[in-house]
Structure formats: structure tokens, C-alpha cells
Amino acid sequence: MGLSRRQFLSIAGSAAGGAAFVSIMENLRPLTAAETIQLTSVQDASVKKWIWVIDLEKCNGCMKCTEACTVEMRVPPAWGEPQYEGYQPWIQVFGTVGSDQQAVFLPVPCQNCQNAPCVKVCPVGANYYSEDGIVLVDQLRCVGTRICMGACPYQRRFFNWFDPPVSEEEKSIPYSPDYNIPHRRGVVEKCIWCRHRVVDGKVPACVEGCAKAGMKVLWFGDAAQDAVSDGEEVVRLSQMIKNRGAYRLKEDLGTDPRVLYLPPQGGST
């Protein structure tokens, strides 16, 4: 994969990165009871309300999620950006050393905001919500203004700066925004929560990769049914949130993300 853990740690641990990370952690706040209820309440069970829970306590930065994603989605290369080696990190693991000299890792997939800035600013309407609330990109319509990349507060959008390599097998797959293969030049790419898998009742590839590595960090599920799974076992979402106190990234921006983070035990209340 070319993703060396030591290398990524050394970059991420740099002064600027560390300071920004601490500031993000400081900005996090526990969800209110009303928000928890709203996130977990059963509404229309026929409409899926996908949700992601990421248990930071268990993450050791093995990056098996990124690897699984790169294989499953045939992720295009990142074209020599100094920050990224190899492929576009659709799910990216950030790391830093906390105040107690313990390493802290933060896997970040697309946050799937329900008030998504990227969807708002697109001039051609290529960014849209699927009926189950996943932000998708119609890459046949995208003109490549990249304004959505500027608007995304989580930096979870990537761009195909050149023609990505496409194998014969990929060419034979009919393109759909739900399974955006084959990849093409000059358009925006993003994590689409493996929509082609989740509509079939499977967890995204990275969740499976995480569970196979025995990590149990990533949990994916349907908030309408109050259940999340790591692909092997299923647990109640409300229980998981209540016992640990869940956070969302950059809550103050009002983007309403669908990814909940469970803090490491040392940092939680």
C-alpha cells in the first residue's frame, strides 16, 4: 500500500498538526439527550438512516480500513502529493501523541453531513443526497470546479488530477454514482459509504477490513433500527452512545454529520 505507519505518524505529529488536532478535540462536546434521541429514534423503518460509530479507544492506527477501501473501491492514486503516499485516502487515519504520551488515532471517512456544505455549493448539482442520506457525486455531470473541496470542512474530497489507471475489468463495470467505477479524470472523488454494499445489507469495506484485523473500531448501522454492526456482531446503537458519550467532528459548524466518535477512555467523562 505504501502507507508506512511510522512515516504518517511523523508527519501527523508535527507541531501544526498536533495543535490543530488538540483544538478539534477541545471543540468536541457530548451530544445532548435530545440529539441522541433524534439520532436513535425509530422513524420510518423503510427509509434507512445510515450511521457510523467509531470507537477511538480501540484504534491502533493499523490502517487496515484504508487498505480495504482502496481495494474495494479501486481508489485512484493521489498523484504525488507530499502529504499522501500512494492512493487517495478516502478513509484516512490521523494520529498524534496526546498529553499523556499515548498515541491517539482518528479514522475519518466522509462525514455524510445532513446539511452538507459540498452539496450546497456545487454549481451543476452533481453533489446530491441519495434517498437514504448518503452524499453522492454524479461524476458524469461534475465539471471539476473543485468548489466542493474548498467547502468541505473535513477535507474528505479528492480530485482526479490526471487519467486514473483503469483495468479492463473496471471498464466493464457500468458506472453508477453508487459504485463510482471506472474512475475518470477531472472529477471529484469521495467516500460514498460503499452504497453498493450497504443497500444489499452489508457493511462498508473498511468496516469489514477493520473487523477482519480484529480491531472492532468501526461500527456501521441504521439509526432508524437502532443497530450498528462491525460485520460480525450487532449491537444496540443507543446503548453504545449512552455508555460512552459520543462526539461529532466540528459540531459547531452545524453540518450535522452522521459519524459519531466514541472518545478514548482517558479523555471521556
Binding site: P123, F158, S172, V187
Partner: protein
Amino acid sequence: MQQAKDNTDLLLDPLTRRSNGYYLLVSVLLAICGWGTYAYANQVISGIGVWGVRSEVIWAVDITNFVFFIGISHVGALMSAILRLTSADWRKPITRLAEVVTFASLLVAVTWPIAHLGRPDRWINLLIYPKLQSPLVWDLLCITTYMIGSTIFLYLPLIPDIAKCRDRLTNVSRFRRRIYSVLSLGWTGSESEMQYLEKAIGIMTILIIPIAISVHTVVSWDFAMQLRTGWNSTIFGPYFVTGALLSGVATVLLVMAALTKFYHLDEFITRKHFDYIASLLLALNIVMIYFTINEYMVPGYKVLGQGTMEGEWLSSLLWGIYWPRFWFQIIAGLILPAIILSVPKTRTITGYLVASLLVDIGMWVERFNIVVPSLALPQLPYAWGQYSPTWFEISTTAASFAGFALVYLLFTRTFPIISMWETADQSDQSTHKKIPTKILPTRTLTGASDSVFASRRRFLNYGAMMVAGFTLGSVSSNIATAVVRGVKKNSTDITVPISTLGESVSVTDVRSMAKFQVEKPAKMPMGSKLDDVRVGNNGKLVTLLYVNPTVPKISMYASDVGFVILEMADPKLDTPPTYLPNGFKRVNVKLNSGFAREFSGAEFDNRDEPGQLQWWEGGVHFVLLANLPIEQLRQIAESMEPI
């Protein structure tokens, strides 16, 4: 009167004089433009990655240039409209000169939003699927309207002068004589014509000011509407408009100096004009300093030295990696010009030129400082984004400046750059003023001359045309939409007779290799021939490739493949999804659910999406790819039978 005649000759002189220096200058400018075009062509072929922009710093020199050129275009509206409204008569010799700055810079500016697209071949999507919620669409609407409006505004006061060119310049090429005669609209210079013209200019004067202000406000909103540290500012609108006027006035000062030097216009553009424009520049400069203090001091007071994102951003500008650019913008671009323009000793033409040059460079850097540091600031805990321009961006930028100079030069060599009827014929001008403004009866005017402005009705006709032009600008998106949709629809009107005569080669091997029951069509377009059968993905994917000389090619396959049938037993794709992908409609094949899409036309990188029909039957996902109408795809699909 004799004096006026001499002036006219003096002003028409640059239009006929052609020296070696002129040809050399045009060649050099053309060469730079050509080089930039070469760089751009390279970018189109290889991909926008040849620029230095990457995942974090997604915009850099491209958007900086766009904002800069849009900015200097504002001076036309300021000089002509605002100074006209305030009856500042000294502006008369420099009005047109400023309007041509607007015209040339707008022409250059609009190339950048198209050039910076990842898919310039798809720019038409901005007209087909405009989403009004996006600031970029506001840009599109405002700039189109501004371009049309400012061109009309430049053209109207030009009419009497073009008529003079038509009458006086009889020894120029036939092509130019024709241009003059068409563009002068049969102008004769009668008093009634003059009256209507002034009225039309008056209307445009009022219209152009809100349009101009909206343009740069909307450009600032491209940034301010995003959730970015450093762009999260409520004063961006007026801040950008002031910066635009400042850089525009500085550019006009530079142009004035160049014109007086090379075209010997000292008689018209005097020291007084330089002094007035310099004072205007100073005033705008001070307003800009005021805005800059607001923009950086308010967040600075609150967050400087804090570990927050805004604190990181501000310290990167003040003493971090961006300090040289930031302090250049503040000291060389704002404070130094203010000192030069206010100290009596340096209030000389040279001083003005130095100040203008500093202001222009400073404003370019200011735009760069707005675009790049905010983007480079990490949104999540990571290293800062990196950016350094490549030769592709530098060449295209150089071509922009050369293109601006070239358009300007050619304009001054074709049309008088100083309004002759407003300055040279001062005596005529005074007589016009004596005419009562009340519109004279139509009948009296019709007999007076056959000019287009001679009758009220004809004037109204032209007025209506102008209104139509404006409307056209605003609704151009809709018209283009209709046209493009029409064209697209026609491209699928290809019918190939379907018969059972398609030839086939032996496919017995497939039966043993595939993990499912493979089918092939019994009916297919006339002349089809099974060319290749491929089995992949451990026998879970079978591809049948048919060649057909009459069916439009599918560009993602080599040679003359006419249509392709994919059969997949891949668990990933073997059940129909519950949703309908974009652009597809539901089509049933043998009572099985499926969906289909029309051929959408070839795309720039030859990876187009061919017309396709997908359906699910007995756990197998079938995909038929062919650039044929949906009904024909369905006919082929219905005829599938086991091999």
C-alpha cells in the same frame, strides 16, 4: 473650429500610423499568447494536474488571476458611470480609455473559470444544470450581464467617433472601412441623434453601477459562502469591490501614461488628469487600508496566538510561512503607495507610476493571499497544504497579461481612444447643450436625415434591441439548455434494422468456464458479428463483444465494437438496486426489472458512457452497452436465449 479639426486629426493619427515598433510589439504579445495557449493545450491533454494545485490548495493562480482581472474591469464603471453621474467633466478624455480597460480585462478574466475546470469539455453543464444555490452560478449570471452591459456602454459613446472614422479614414483597408460603416449605424451627427444618444448613455450609466458592484460582490461570495477559516468574513463584498476599484484606477493610470507617451496625447490628457486620478487612487487606497485593518485586526484581537484554526491561519500570515507575501501586500501594496501619493515631493508622474505599479502588484498578491493560505490551512490534524506554481500556470498567466495588452493595443489602433465628440469638438458640444431636452415631434425628425437615430421610432427600435440584448444575457442559460438538449436528442436518432441474421462463432468453451447459464441474443443489428468472448472474475463475468460497422462505436473498447453484453454473477451486483441511478429510466425486460439510459454523446477523454440497458434475471446481472435507442436495446435484450 480650426483647432477642433486639428485635434481630430491628432486623435485619428494612431489609427493609421504603423511603425516597425508596433509590429514588433504585436508579434511579441502574440508569441506570449501562443506560448500560453500551448501550455493550456498541454493541460487539456494531460489533465489539470500539470498545475501545482493539489488536494488542499485546490485553487491558486487561476482564481487569483480571475479575481484580479475582474477587479480591474471595475474601473470602467467607476470612470464612466460614477464620474458621469457626479458631473465630473474632467473625466471626458479618460472615460473611454477606462472603458477599454474594462472590456479587455473582462475578455481575459472569463477565460480563467473555464480554464480552471477539471473538465473544460463539460463547461456547458453550467448552462444545462445550473443550480441557483451555488455562488458559482451567481458569478456566471452577473459576469455575463456585466460583459454585455459594459460592451454596450463602451459602444454607445463610440458611435459618433466611428462615424468620423468612416468619413475621414478613406485610405485604410476595405475591411476596416466596412467595420466602420457597419458599426456607425449610419450616424450623421445631427442634433436629434446626439440627443437620443445622450439619453441612451444616461440610461446605461444608471444600469451599469449596480451590475458592476454585484459582480465583484458575488466574486467575493465564492469565498465568503464557504466554511473556511479566513474566508468567513462579512466584509468580503465591500472589501473586494474597493480592491477592485483600487487596482482598476492604478491600471488606468499606467495606461494613461503609456498612451500619452506613445500617442502624443499630452494635449488631452494633462497633468491635471494625472493629479485627479492620483487623488482618486489615494482615496481608494486609504479606504482599502481601513478595510484591511478591519479584516485582520478583528480576528487578530481575539484569536492570535491561540491554537485554534483561525489563530493558526493568522499567525501563518503575520509571521508564519506566508509572512513575506503578506507584508509585501501591506507595505508595498498599500502603505508605500499611500506615502508616495500624499507626499508633495513625490507627487510627480514618475511617483504616480511607481505607486500604481505597486498597487497593481500588491492587489494581485492580496488576492493570492486570500486564496492560498486559507486553502492550505489543514481542516483536520495534518500538515499544511503545499503549493508552488508550475510553468504551465506561469505561462498561462503571462499569456493573460499579454492578451490584455494585445486587446488594448489593437483597440487603440482601430478606434480613437479618446472620445472625439466629447473633447475635440468642444464647440459642437456646447451647441448641443442648448437644445431643449424635450423630444421633438417625430415627423420633423424623419425628414432631417436617414440616420438610424433620426426618428423616435428608430431610436426606440434600437432601445428595444438593447433591452433584448440584456434579456438575452440573463436567459442565455435557458436558450442554450434547449439547444443542447435538442442536439443531444438528435444524436440518438440512429436506427439500425434488427434481424436474426447475425453471424456467430463457436462459444462452446464459455459453457464450461462460466459459473452460470450464459445467454446470447438471437436478434441483433444487421451485420453484427460475435467477435470475442471473454470470461473473467473466476467465471463470474462473461463479456460478449459484437462488431458492427453501422452502429456508432463504443469508445472505451478498441476497434469497431458495436455492442457489448456483460453477464455478471458477482454477488456485488447481482441484485437490482432499489434506487434508480441518475439519468436512467425504468425498462422491463421479459418482465424482469431493469433500467436504461440513452447514449449521452462522446466525452472529451474518450471514456464516454455509452447507451446502456441493465436488467436482472435469475441471479445474473445483464448489461447491454450500445449506442442505440432504448427501444432497440430492449429488442436485443428480449431475444436473449441460452447458449
